[in-house]
């Protein structure tokens, strides 16, 4: 064809040259139309000629070619076979030719050497010998497959076994073909793919490792092409989001799983990433279908693909465990702080060179009495340390430097602003810093104020206990004259007399019963019967008193107390107790009883004396109702004597007579009570009642002496315990004294005031105040003495008796001087406390 074009071009140019030759220069403008048909005809003719020439040349070349081919074909065939053989032999591929039964017909040398055989060792043998035992069935199958459809090639990968037993991976390409003699052979080309297989395995392994790593680290990876919207998730990503790996991942899925509270934030992050096409990183929670919550941390890089699109590649990590751990940590930190606070233990770390705290827990500040929220300087902290303890504290960091390490325990005191002292026990040890030096001291401050106080209390309690033990031993010895022990049969088994009283009892009491020692069993059988019953019941007894004789024969009184004692099994072993010689006490009691009796008699005498002094008043007190009775009687007769007897008036008169008679007998009863020599009878009384009774007796005396009486009696006074008559006597005495003291008074109203009240100590207080002559200082001291009197008549025993009566009642009598003229006699009696039995 090329030649055609070339010749055509040549023709055209030759014609053009011819035409140029024949024609005058016309500036190549075909404006001479009469030349155009000539040129055109020439052109067509030359083209046709060119074509014909080309046709002839091609036909000739073809003929020549065919002749040459025919010549070459014989040599060529020979050459080709040789070359194929060459290829067959030296091809880096192993070729096997096997028949349908698997017998090797031919093998190239590579194939044989690869397997460690020479071709002759393989040809004529079954090909199966180079396969692993377990693969031989498969090989047979493959052969059959190939022979079924001739010409169809099959490929498989299989292991072959070398002569030396080693294994190599091959890929076999087999195809059955029929040879000229119609024999069916299978051509097998084997390629050694051991390396590739190894790479493949390594790849697979690394993929598996990656998957495993993702699984273990709970990190899934993802890819997201913004342009196509295509999303790729790793297996772990599916697992994290808990989607079926078959699901087609989309950003929507992420949002679906996102915790509702975080959804907006996630959406925002994704939107922003899409908009700005930048890296993003965020944490959010998932709310999974089963209701559980997962914390995720996702990181993505925006990358540009070759096509210029943005693609996000990232990793999403399940940080739930980390989050929980973090929470756990935070909680345990809080617990620690709380524990420090509760145990009053603060921890700290001190830089020994820079002389400052590296760290100190809030509790340290609190221990020093500072608010942990406020910054505190070292100096301020130091100022709170007890000055005596400060050197010891400051010595510790120095020792760390000197001794290069060490463990320290020391106590010191903190002076709190309110003046209290807090005791701290500190434990510290030096730690090695990164540069290998001991520069830091780590320790704890523990508040041991309570423990310290407790220890002090304990020590004090122990000391007290020791002291009290000694005291009780002393008591037992001083409070008793001897200690005794009796056996189960109540006979004395042990007897220890203290030295001070040695020898009171007759010797040889051991082995005797108590009733054999005593000398009053016959005199007081009931007392002893009761005592015997107590012993038989094995009950403790206290203050049992009996009479016995000393070794010198004199009679003594013994007071004894005892308690039963038992062995570990609860068997009764006897009694233990103490006894005391109480003869002096008994004698004193008897003497006191005598004294009381004498006092009571004296009180009676003075009472009668007082009554004697009041005779006029008393007579009046009796005359008054008697006169009234007479008048009413007369009146009654008068009412009855009327022409029409007035019965209702008469009845009324008789009623008044009865009333007046009762009044008269009441007066007589009171006077008799005062005059009577009766036993002292202690009963609960209201002092105001007694005052009223006294007033009834002395009213006439007051009137006749022109004395006005004022009473200021406190309501609801507590009861006192006393003898009615004796207390009446005291008050009468005080009132009569007051009246008498006012006799000389002419210039002012004579007023007597009786006040009752409860004093600040809770006792019942009664005061009789007159505005009489008063008492001079000297007399005030002597006024209570017996036989002291300022009167011409009288024994001078009144106040003395009053005082002893009140003292017998547990009270006291005293004089108080008035602001105004006169004197106040007052007494206080203890409140009667109801005995709870």
């Amino acid at each position: 064809m090329g030649s055609l074009i070339a010749s055509a071009m040549l023709s055209i140019s030759s014609i053009a040259a011819l035409a140029y030759f024949f024609t005058p220069p016309v500036y190549l403008a075909f404006d001479a139309p009469h030349y155009l048909p000539v040129v055109a005809i020439l052109l067509v003719a030359s083209l046709a000629a060119v074509y014909l020439i080309e046709k002839v040349r091609l036909a000739r070349e073809a003929t020549l070619d065919a002749a040459a081919k025919l010549r070459r074909s014989e040599a060529d065939l020979e050459h080709r076979e040789k070359r194929w053989r060459e290829i067959f032999e030296h091809n880096p591929v192993m070729y096997f030719m096997v028949d349908a039964a698997g017998t090797v017909l031919n093998v190239n040398s590579l194939g044989a050497t690869q397997l460690g055989y020479s071709p002759s060792e393989l040809i004529g043998h079954s090909v199966l010998k180079v396969f692993l035992e377990e693969d031989r069935a498969l090989v047979g199958q493959c052969l059959r497959l190939c022979t079924e459809i001739v010409g169809q090639s099959h490929t498989w990968e299989i292991q072959k076994i070398r002569k030396d037993g080693s294994v190599l991976w091959v890929r076999e390409n087999a195809k059955a073909t029929r040879w000229a003699d119609d024999q069916l052979i299978v051509l097998v080309a084997c390629e050694d793919i051991t390396d590739r297989k190894r790479t493949e395995t390594a790849l697979r392994r690394s993929e598996a490792h990656l998957a495993q790593a993702q699984e273990l680290s709970r990190t899934g990876s993802f890819g997201w092409s913004v342009a196509t919207g295509e999303v790729i998730w790793s297996k772990e990503t599916f697992r994290i989001f808990e989607y079926d790996p078959a699901t087609k991942p989309t950003p929507r899925l992420v949002l679906d799983r996102t915790h509702p509270e975080d959804r907006a934030a996630v959406q925002q992050t994704i939107d922003r990433a899409l908009r700005e096409e930048v890296d993003f990183e965020h944490e959010y929670r998932l709310l999974l279908p089963d209701g559980s919550v997962k914390h995720l941390h996702a990181v993505a890089r925006a990358t540009r693909t070759a096509s210029g699109d943005t693609e996000f590649v990232g990793a999403v990590t399940d940080i739930t465990a980390a989050k929980q751990a973090e929470q756990q940590l935070r909680r345990s930190e809080a617990y620690l702080a709380e524990a420090q606070r509760l145990s009053h233990t603060g921890s700290w770390s001190w830089d020994v060179h820079r002389v400052e705290f590296v760290y100190r827990s809030a509790e340290v500040d609190r221990l020093f009495g500072f608010d942990p929220e406020e910054a505190v300087s070292i100096e301020t902290i130091r100022s709170r340390i007890h000055p005596d303890d400060l050197p010891r504290l400051q010595e510790v960091p120095c020792r760390v430097i000197e001794e290069k390490g060490g463990h320290f325990e020391y106590d010191f005191r903190i002076l709190l602003p309110e003046g209290a002292i807090r005791r701290i026990h500190s434990v510290a040890h030096a730690v090695v810093s990164s540069d290998g030096n001991f520069t830091e001291l780590i320790g704890t401050h523990m508040d041991v104020t309570e423990q310290y106080a407790a220890r002090e209390r304990l020590e004090k309690a122990l000391a007290d206990l020791r002291e009290s033990e000694q005291r009780f031993r002393d008591y037992a010895e001083t409070a008793s004259d001897w200690l005794w022990e009796t056996g189960p049969d109540h006979r004395v088994t042990r007897f220890s007399e203290h030295t001070s009283t040695a020898g009171i009892l007759a010797t040889g009491v051991v082995g005797l019963l108590r009733c054999e020692i005593a000398g009053d069993v016959d005199a007081e059988p009931e007392k002893w019967r009761q005592h015997q019953a107590t012993l038989e019941a094995r009950l403790p007894f206290r203050d049992f008193i009996y009479r016995t004789v000393t070794r010198t024969g004199s009679s003594i009184y013994v007071r004894t107390s005892g308690k039963p004692f038992f062995d570990a099994d609860g068997n009764f072993l006897g009694y233990r107790g103490v006894s005391t010689d109480i003869t002096p006490t008994i004698r004193a009691d008897q003497a006191e009883r005598e004294l009381r009796k004498a006092q009571a008699e004296l009180a009676h005498v003075t009472r009668v004396t007082t009554l004697g002094e009041m005779t006029t008043s008393i007579a009046h007190e009796i005359n008054q109702p008697l006169a009234a009775i007479v008048a009413n009687g007369e009146a009654c007769l008068g009412w009855l004597d009327r022409d029409t007897p007035d019965l209702s008036e008469a009845r009324c008169s008789v009623e008044w007579i009865i009333e007046d008679a009762i009044r008269a007998s009441e007066v007589i009863r009171r006077i008799r009570a005062l005059a009577k020599k009766s036993d002292i009878e202690m009963v609960p009384l209201n002092i105001n009642d007694i005052v009223h009774e006294v007033i009834a007796l002395v009213t006439r005396e007051l009137v006749s002496q022109r004395v006005s009486l004022r009473t200021e009696l406190a309501p609801a006074l507590p009861m006192i315990l006393g003898d009615r008559v004796q207390l009446q006597q005291v008050i009468i005495n005080l009132v009569m004294n007051g009246i008498e003291a006012m006799q000389p008074v002419r210039d002012r109203p004579r007023e007597l005031v009786i006040r009752s009240s409860q004093d600040e100590m809770g006792g019942v207080h009664l005061a009789v105040t007159d505005c009489g002559v008063g008492i001079t200082g000297d007399d005030a001291d002597r006024v209570f003495n017996p036989f002291f009197t300022t009167k011409s008549t009288g024994l001078g025993m009144g106040l003395s008796i009053c005082r002893s009566i009140l003292e017998a009642h547990g009270g006291s009598l005293s004089i108080a001087r008035n602001q105004e003229p006169g004197a106040t006699f007052q007494f206080v009696l203890p409140v009667h406390k109801e005995v709870v039995s």
Binding site: H620, Q624, V630, E634, L637, W639, R642, E649, D660, S704
Partner: protein, 226 residues
């Protein structure tokens, strides 16, 4: 006292004055006060009882014949002091003192002060009743006299000065002529004045007029009476 006869008991009742009589009782003792009041009421006397002298002084007392039964010893103002007080107030109530323990000086003092009686307890009730009746009677009489004098006085005051002068001279026993000379008037004029005096004074006769002149204190003018 129980042995007293009925007749003697009736005595006071029988003697009961026609006009109302009032007894004041002062005693600080309630039953005593009550029994005395009862006794007086039983014989038909009106009674007003007080617990103290002050109570009586504060009370408005009815203007009737009365007497006062008073205990000498009283809280506050005593019986004797009350007597003085009443005298100051010109209340001339007859007083009967009763006392549980009378002594001579006190009795004397009481009597000097105008007490009508002084009874010492225990006294017989009849004694007291008698004393009360006597005292009220005396008071009544005193009052009647005072009342009559007051009436004469008011009549006397209705007379003109000339008439009073005439009456003084007439009751002095002078004759009309002597009076006319004394006053420098005509005898006939004196006669007219005398008639007027007789009429105004309600005198029926000269003797009547002379009796009237005495309580009016006109008589002392007579030298014979002085």
């Amino acid at each position: 006292m129980t042995g007293r006869s009925q007749s003697s008991r009736r005595g006071p009742q029988a003697e009961k004055p026609a006009g109302s009589a009032l007894v004041f009782v002062i005693d600080d003792d309630v039953s005593m006060r009550r029994s005395l009041a009862n006794l007086f009421r039983s014989v038909g006397l009106d009674v007003i009882a007080f617990g103290s002298a002050q109570e009586m002084l504060q009370a408005s007392l009815p203007d009737v014949a009365s007497c006062l039964v008073l205990d000498v010893r009283l809280p506050g103002l005593s019986g004797l002091e009350l007597q003085t007080e009443l005298a100051k107030l010109n209340l001339r109530i007859p007083i009967i003192f009763i006392t549980g323990h009378g002594d001579i000086p006190m009795t004397v003092k009481a009597m000097k002060g105008g007490a009508v009686d002084f009874l010492t307890k225990p006294f017989r009730d009849q004694e007291l009743l008698d004393a009360v009746v006597a005292a009220t009677e005396r008071d009544r009489k005193r009052r009647e006299v005072e009342k009559a004098v007051a009436s004469l006085q008011s009549s006397f005051e209705t007379l003109s000065p000339r008439e009073q002068a005439v009456m003084k001279l007439v009751t002095a026993g002078l004759m009309n002529k002597q009076i006319a000379a004394e006053l420098g008037l005509a005898e006939i004029t004196i006669k007219i004045y005398r008639g007027q005096v007789m009429k105004k004074m309600g005198a029926r006769s000269l003797a009547d007029l002379i009796r009237m002149a005495e309580p009016l204190g006109i008589r002392p003018n007579r030298p014979e009476q002085a």
